[in-house]
Assembly symmetry: D2
Homo-oligomer: 368 residues x 4
């Protein structure tokens, strides 16, 4: 139990079910004096909001965040920030049927096995809607990191067989294509692929990539709280993600030392690497280069074709899932990965007590 | 700082440097009454011991573990178990030169960046030798899991381009081939590949796979302490691992829902999945099936050919690394992955407070 | 930062300011299947509600709790329980003046020193109103402990010079006297003393005692998480409490071993102590006897007479505090002490993994 | 379980039994670059070493500390510092008898109740010898605090009925009297009282006071990690301590607001309090004044006169304890209280991320 808190220094506790009264998060450990308003957080929530494209569930939720504590006269007070997002569009009747059987690829069975019963409405806490709390809290983390000169940029790298060509990188496209791809041409191809999936009553997976720039060398704690270990935990904790790569990732296993090593070189600005196979992390500690991670997202398990499964009564049966579901999770999960990476990184930035903390100290000082 | 503790319930703190006086671990939270002696732990340490094959560093270390506390008359007392492994073969002179430059692919640069200086002898705490403490503690975790009916089996899946054929799975081969592959034919091919690498003064990477059987459904805590998230953190925290996959892993991103979903079926023994693309974890909670994870290990960064790099004096230079180094990390890292998976799993087993704890309660009762 | 979470297993995060929109708590780690409704919690909140007697602030707050998550069809789901209590009676204008100076005995100065500025309305987070979240969460803990056979009973032992005579112990009096004393005669004397204090524009302190019965031997973790250490931390973390005693407490320092040792004796029901100077805890572990603790509460620092102080402008001045203040904190703090003791105890009960957990396992099993 | 770690930022894990091979501690989170050698720690260990006076157990232990990791070329590396103190004088035969019965006032019974069996030699982990690890780690904490301008001074305030007169405060006397009292006259009286106790085969309790100077305002985290709550937990976790007071402590319950409030005043150096009833802590946060705490220590439970008790066989019996025991714990516990206060305070200093961290940042910078 007790797995709903993340971070030792910038600690986030999330709560809420898909069809409960509300979802939310409590952020403990935010420095005092930071200017913060609901709009700062809303921008991030809007990126994961349902109903934004034809590839997103038609469920309509305003996902309007309220700040209930920890902010006074427009600035954080250093005390816990309670964030609340009401649920407004609960059509629980869609789900009454699924109380009786286990949807393949979902957590219905494991929640029953663990807890003895479950809130079956929309998957309860195991719903993707649970990420509302992560994004609300992550928006604050990303905001602080930005003040410290660090910026996160996540996007869709691939949907099914269609990959973005990063040589055509177009940052605006991340926000204004329905795929969150930074390449409009690939996005159009991916949209065609998704339409085909939907026509076949099927769904698609994909790859989310996240780049973090401006991270100074020295962030990450050996041995267990390495930057890559914490990023992996943060990202793998998002439902539907089944693999996490850092830098060259899976490619390293078939590489050789002479290919994979990144030579160092010195110039007047300091010491750098000629290549970045390491993805900005050496020995679990940031090396000053761009941090690069990739998450592999499984296809939406809710598909509209008939599937075999078992009922909670222990009988075999076939089912056809109803309700409102995204044919692909990836585009809406992009901001979730970005926010989880922000939470993991900020926590380690605040853990860091070496000379690099000068920058942090200056930041805190500036807040007064 | 403070990243040397792992686990909330079965808590392990490791310490020690490659060329310090000793390495060790303190295990806090081990139940009382478990029969335990040094030989139980030594078996695991012997699997990562250097010098066991021609693909392993010729450094000779007995790696003989001492239990300094927490065991009385052959049984654990419930108090912290202090484990100590002396360092006996420190040829620090090999390393005196590397004090002055940053080895590519190593953490020399990031430790300097973080801490301002470093114990350069053999990489200090960033050495693979740091895993001695993980293995010593993990041996105890694996032992308890076995009493609870859960068994871990890790092995080398691939070295460079050579993959084990799991249809020829031979468990003994894991322990008696120099590659830790469960397929003697592939092992021989991998050995040839490694000899070629060594001849080219180069090194190889590979893939470690770990299967965990006997895990009851219900282990893992939503949201942040999901079983897959904790396994990912545990495994990614091992130096040189750059990607972690659960179940079908990276393959899910190009799959479809109809392919990737595992249909449930019921029989007289309960509810099962027809396939196991999920790798035994749904919604972050074990589903009763085999848990499957894969780790991608980078090639040993210490290669004997000339490399470009920078000195800590800020000058560019070329270097040729000396010392005793494995041409491939994978075979000796197999037991490390197994032990880290054991630590992550046991911690969540002990966190679990649902009806499944009956088995745990019976275990504790049996210890009295 | 990040000091708003309590407990490792039954984890509570509280949030909220005296004059913000709401206060609340998130409980993570509550077992699934427990029947729970708002009325279960309201009973406890009503015991600390303002406005209940003439010795309590005339501020009127319904303190009506809402459960926003973690409960489905009247039972807990095992996921975080979000509890929210709206603030309805914020007369912030009373406080606009105190923005400019530091009230003696309050945290105004230290919050400014720490955070650079503060929510001055009613003390913000440093207000006694912060305990709303503690009580809401503690009510759930007390409920679970009761199911496990453990019961807490806190009461006012003394107010100023007036002590309850426990030989006249009357449990109902705790709830229906304005002093929360279990002795109606003493309560009347204490009321007279409080009236005198009010007439003198002064305030009173007092002693809260808490007895916990039904705790089996074996709860508490050596070395740092001893039951007495965790109880002390829990109780001392309540504002205005300046001393904590266990069992004979301060009297032990002037006692001798022959007086203070509690002899053991055996009978057919097990092993017991003839006396209980130890307060039910030996070596940090419960011994099966009644657990006894006492908390010393300082007099309300808000008094209506003129006081010397300094302004935040660095000028000396005299002030006369306005607003709505209790002349004694003790009666309303009784339930807070009881709830904090419940949170500390339950956390260690859940931490305990010895044979005593049979009772816990049976409880969890019963929930299914 | 898992109660052997203390601190979130400066994390200490202790281990070891009275008659095991060794005792020790692992310190994780110590900043890199601090000059540190074994002598720095030995000074503190010598203050709690047995055999130093006729009021201390005649057991002879060198208590010589070894640093096994985390220090390179005389400076800390930022990695875990493993500290080891061998046990050399184990006369376990003294204890073979106590395997069969429960010593009154000791943890024999509760360890058996909790763990099902126990290391009975000298109390195992429940022995006062367990504090060796606390003192070794606390010495490092006190050292860092001193660099930050904060100094701790603990001493014996009273033994039995004899109190030190602090108007005669003599700091040297703390180290060179057998009572650790800062008043030689009172020390002599206390020595006479102890001789009488010993003649009566009885033991004495006492009071330890600790003053901490130089703590800037702003240390301590609301709500649960208040400075007083953490100090109380730290000190109450030491065996034999049954009450903890902050500032005026128990006296506050019979005081009034007008007496107990400390008026603020401003002068050119800042804002101060005219009195210090609060003991340097307001709202759980340091106020810049001297921090004052008191711990009440029970009389040594091992007395040489005949006592009633029960055997582990469930039979009533009388016992006469043998072995080597202090007639009073207080003088040797003084350094333990000082070290635990240092650990609690340093952890909160490192947790603090407000403007006061400038001093901390400067300290870290100075280490490079």
């Amino acid at each position: 139990m007790a797995g709903s808190c993340f971070g030792k220094y910038f600690t986030v506790t999330t709560w809420g079910e898909s069809h409960g009264r509300a979802l939310g998060a409590v952020v403990d450990g935010c420095p005092a004096g930071l200017s913060l308003c609901e709009a700062d957080i809303q921008t991030y929530l809007d990126r994961r909001k349902p109903g934004a494209s034809r590839f997103s569930t038609p469920r309509r939720e305003a996902d309007a965040v309220q700040i209930l504590s920890g902010v006074f006269e427009g600035r954080t007070t250093g005390t816990p920030i309670s964030l609340l997002v009401p649920n407004t569009s609960q059509r629980s009747s869609d789900y009454s049927e699924i109380a009786s059987y286990y949807r393949p690829g979902h957590a219905d069975f494991t929640y029953d096995a663990k807890y003895g019963f479950r809130d079956y409405r929309g998957g309860g806490r195991s719903s993707g809607r649970e990420t509302v709390g992560r994004v609300a809290a992550g928006a604050i983390a990303a905001r602080i990191l930005k003040e410290l000169g660090m910026e996160l940029c996540a996007y869709t790298k691939a949907i099914g067989p269609v990959s973005a060509d990063l040589s055509r990188f177009d940052k605006d496209a991340i926000l204004d294509t329905p795929t969150a791809m930074p390449d409009r041409t690939a996005s159009e191809a991916a949209e065609r692929y998704l339409s085909e999936c939907m026509a076949r009553k099927d769904s698609a997976g994909g790859i989310i990539e996240c780049r973090i720039t401006g991270v100074p060398a020295g962030i990450g704690e050996p041995v267990f709280d390495k930057l890559d270990a914490r990023l992996a935990a943060a990202v793998m904790s998002v439902g539907a993600i089944k693999a996490v790569e850092i830098g060259n990732g899976i490619a390293v296993s078939s590489s050789t030392g002479s290919e994979n090593n990144d030579p160092f070189y010195a110039d007047e600005t300091g010491i750098h690497k000629r290549t970045n196979h390491a993805g900005g992390i050496l020995g679990g500690i940031s090396d000053g280069d761009t941090i690069l991670l990739r998450a592999h997202v499984k296809p939406t398990p809710s598909i509209f074709r008939e599937q075999e499964t078992a009922g909670s009564d222990g009988q075999n049966r076939t089912v056809r899932i109803k309700g409102r579901h995204d044919p692909v999770i990836v585009p809406r999960a992009v901001v979730v990965v970005e926010c989880m990476a922000a939470l993991a990184l900020l926590d380690l930035v605040m853990a860091n007590t070496t000379a690099r903390m000068d920058r942090l100290a200056a930041f805190y000082r500036g807040l007064r």
